[in-house]
Symmetry: C2
Subunit: 517 residues, 2 copies
């Protein structure tokens, strides 16, 4: 590392990370950097430096100093984050070795539209969307690195614990820029639930006692959150959300850009992660359709990055899975069918909830030969006319069932069956979704939009900002020839590039688009 020519590089020495080496360098380390003014507080470029042995990291740590600051003070907590300083300013700024820089950013909508415009079919468009939006291998590894850095903080008090990712990071449905959900696993702590030895005496640790496991979880998360907040470099914006159904701490890990949620003893969420992963592997159309629908929903303002009464990506995924179970022949099995094939090792009863399903489901390749284009059309038509007022979506049975309670949208939690996954959704948001589905079903039916010569065409025509703000109550409808409306939409898209530049935010620009029934 000392051979590097850069003024300053913020380096995370990550043992667990196996990033491809960009080009051969001595001593098994890789450095990526860009010159940054010395001593400035602006974030520099980060280099992931992989060492062949743990001793090398310790050697770097021994040689490192704690910054002596003129007007501030450093909290002397030692982690695996370092700043590399060039002590001779300005001498070598011209050399830029061709280090591989890993793209960690989210693709913009315009870029995505451009990339899918050259496709030859709607199926190809959707697979391209999947390719462009899914987590890269490097980004996934970066997420594991962040877990390992936080693990060091938690392990200070609970040496046998581990922090592991769950949710979109590892369920095969994660897109670039998605939150990093982490799980503090304390079950590995030895001596818990151990049966007492048979002798006359037994020794127990003296511990703090609290009223329930929930209180213990809150207490542990609170302290670890405090440590992250006060000591961990690059972690900012700590929020302790300890009274949530599942207590968590939320913070931003600035070097990686990840928004992090850390929970503990969240075993059911781990099983949900595994279930989604298994569904994702059963048929290639599963992921492509889920990514397509999520992308569409974000552009349409149906989902949002801020919490609220919006439909969530998890709910949309459930809706896609449900649709694929309902096809004839079905593309994926119901949860009950997965459970029926469970082996003994797959049996999981967590807090009296049955979380059992086959971890290696053997399915004859589905007889269903529908294209993604068919399924996309079916999704919009199915949910454009679904009896949301009466029926509940249920992937366990693969059949709609009567709603047990009057929430506008009811999607049964696959494991905690008394819970509604979409309890947060209000009628306005559900209406927004239904209208957008109907509108999209109509657009997809336009023969002129089905061919790559149209502009936009196919899936692109659905990725146009939408809004029903003034329609819900006024019921006012304008009618225009379809081609003219599509052209207007395209123009408005071009005129408002900035507002649609990033898929990770809901579109700020609102247009009135009439509904066609």
């Amino acid at each position: 590392m000392a051979a590097s020519v850069w003024r300053r590089v913020q380096a995370a020495a990550g043992r667990q990370l196996r990033l491809p080496r960009p080009h051969s360098r001595s001593s098994g380390s890789s450095v990526g950097a860009a010159p940054v003014a010395d001593g400035s507080e602006e974030p520099g470029h980060y280099a992931l430096v992989e060492f062949s042995g743990k001793e090398s990291i310790e050697a770097v740590q021994r040689a490192s100093t704690i910054p002596g600051l003129q007007h501030e003070c450093a909290v002397p907590f030692k982690s695996r984050f370092f700043n590399l300083r060039n002590n001779h300013l300005g001498s070598q700024t011209a050399i830029h070795p061709s280090v591989l820089r890993l793209k960690q950013s989210v693709i913009s909508l315009n870029e995505l539209l451009q990339n899918i415009s050259g496709a030859e079919s709607i199926d190809e468009q959707l697979y391209t969307v999947l390719e462009e939006m899914q987590l890269t291998e490097e980004n996934t590894r970066l997420r594991f690195l962040v877990c390992s850095l936080l693990n060091e903080i938690a392990a200070a008090y609970f040496p046998e614990c581990s922090i592991r990712p769950f949710g979109s990071t590892v369920n095969n449905f994660g897109k670039m820029g998605c939150d990093l959900d982490m799980f503090l696993d304390l079950d590995g702590i030895s001596g818990r639930n151990k049966t007492k030895p048979g002798g006359a005496f037994s020794v127990e640790y003296q511990t703090k006692r609290v009223a329930s496991e929930r209180v213990a979880t809150q207490s542990i998360l609170s302290v670890i959150g405090e440590c992250i907040d006060q000591f961990a470099p690059g972690c900012t914006g700590m929020q302790k959300i300890l009274n949530a159904r599942c207590p968590l701490v939320r913070f931003s890990h600035q070097p990686s850009g990840f928004q992090c949620d850390l929970t503990a003893n969240n075993r059911i969420a781990m099983r949900s992660t595994e279930l989604l992963y298994i569904y994702s592997t059963l048929d290639p159309r599963v992921r492509a359709l889920v990514f397509g629908i999520r992308c569409w929903a974000r552009v349409q303002g149906i989902t949002s990055s801020v919490p609220g009464a919006w439909i969530t990506n998890f709910s949309l995924t459930m809706m896609v899975l449900f649709l694929l179970q309902r096809r004839n022949p079905p593309i994926i099995p119901t949860l009950d069918q997965l459970k029926a094939q469970a082996a003994e090792k797959d049996v999981h009863i967590i807090e009296s909830h049955d979380c059992t399903f086959a971890s290696d489901y053997k399915m004859k390749s589905s007889q269903n030969t529908e294209t993604l284009e068919d399924l996309l059309q079916e999704f919009f038509e199915f949910y454009g006319s679904f009896a949301f007022n009466k029926m509940s979506i249920n992937i366990r049975k693969g059949k709609e069932q009567n709603k047990p309670e009057p929430s506008p949208l009811h999607i049964q939690n696959p494991f905690e069956q008394a819970l509604n996954v979409s309890k947060n959704v209000n009628q306005t948001q559900l209406d927004r979704f239904v209208r957008a589905a109907r509108e999209s079903a109509w657009i997809l039916q336009q023969e002129g939009l089905k061919h790559p010569k149209a502009e936009p065409w196919g899936f692109s025509a659905l990725l146009l900002p939408n809004s029903q703000t003034s329609m819900g109550k006024s019921k006012k409808r304008r009618r225009q020839p379809a081609s003219e409306r599509i052209k207007n939409l395209l123009d408005s898209l071009k005129a408002n590039k900035q507002s649609t530049d990033n898929l990770s935010r809901p579109n700020g620009h609102q247009k009135i688009i009439p509904i066609v029934r």
Copy 2:
């Protein structure tokens, strides 16, 4: 340990502790215990178990379980505190091996009066008070053990830090039951204030930056306080007093019974501790007189265990030292004289305060041959007529000086010379002290009380509960023959045993005692 016959013992395996082995046992361990109902939450007896090697502690830890509780949950933090359970209840409760039980409690006033009644001189009485009240060696070691247990918590994040006792625990003026003041020393963290290596590059830890060292201290104490509060068995009543001049966390360590104060980077307090220690070693009369005066002050309600406008033990110690500097010939040197003999290694400038003094002061044994009886009398007379309204007490110069500010009692802080050690003291409390000093001077002058045949006699006659509650304002005085008054005092003492049973609390019983001028 498995050979023990007790149902349950809470054991702290303390490597640093070198308690005398009560009787020979195998494998270098000692156990002291008493039967306690199994599973009960009432504090049991504690055993300090010393192992010959660290591996043995790890072996105990490996064999220990985390309690599985029926209606509660254990926070699975592993420390060196264990519960030993007898799995066969009721079988061996009759065996009581003669394990040495270390007395860790505070002597009661009645016991103390009894113990000094047989002395042959007031000097012998005062040395007995010293013997009875001072910290035992075992209690001091127990304090070091508590520091080492807390050190493990702090070292989780700052492996190079150390927690050390300061103040009365180690300044040679500590009495049984005194608070345990601890100091989190972060200066040992390597890489701090290290000069950058000469090469082209240097590596720094990336750290959180805060506005000042004070903010860093607050942040570190806050997190460590949180850990102690949530995880550490036996630590209760956590208070974070982070906005104090010297930020601290305060809590009770129940197994040892110590009230603990943990501060950080409190270097001046460390020097004060060393200074008092050095003064304590210069002449045997120093400690005896300080202990005597403190004991007297507590019985008289001049000092208190709760914070307030009371005179503190530290102020009283300063007053005794000042008196001993003012004797002719002096018994101890002034701080300036100690500084004049300082070697190079003794030079300490902390935050621009001169904390320099000779650590091995060579003094010809004092020419002063006054007895403790003389000095006790002198103390009461000197402070009974001291010009507190105009003059400041100053152990640096060994001379009273004009008060720089109008606090009722002004004792210059020996190192932070702009500060008044007794700024908290109000006029009422100062008056209480002066009246008690005059009263005691008068009592000591009574020839009839100077001989062991009187009852009470000598120093015992001063350890009678006192109160000036109704005198401060009314100036009402009753006159009685001295012998009758003393007899009344004694009667009142006997009648109110309970209220004077413990020296660690100010006497709740208040009697009106006239002042004689």
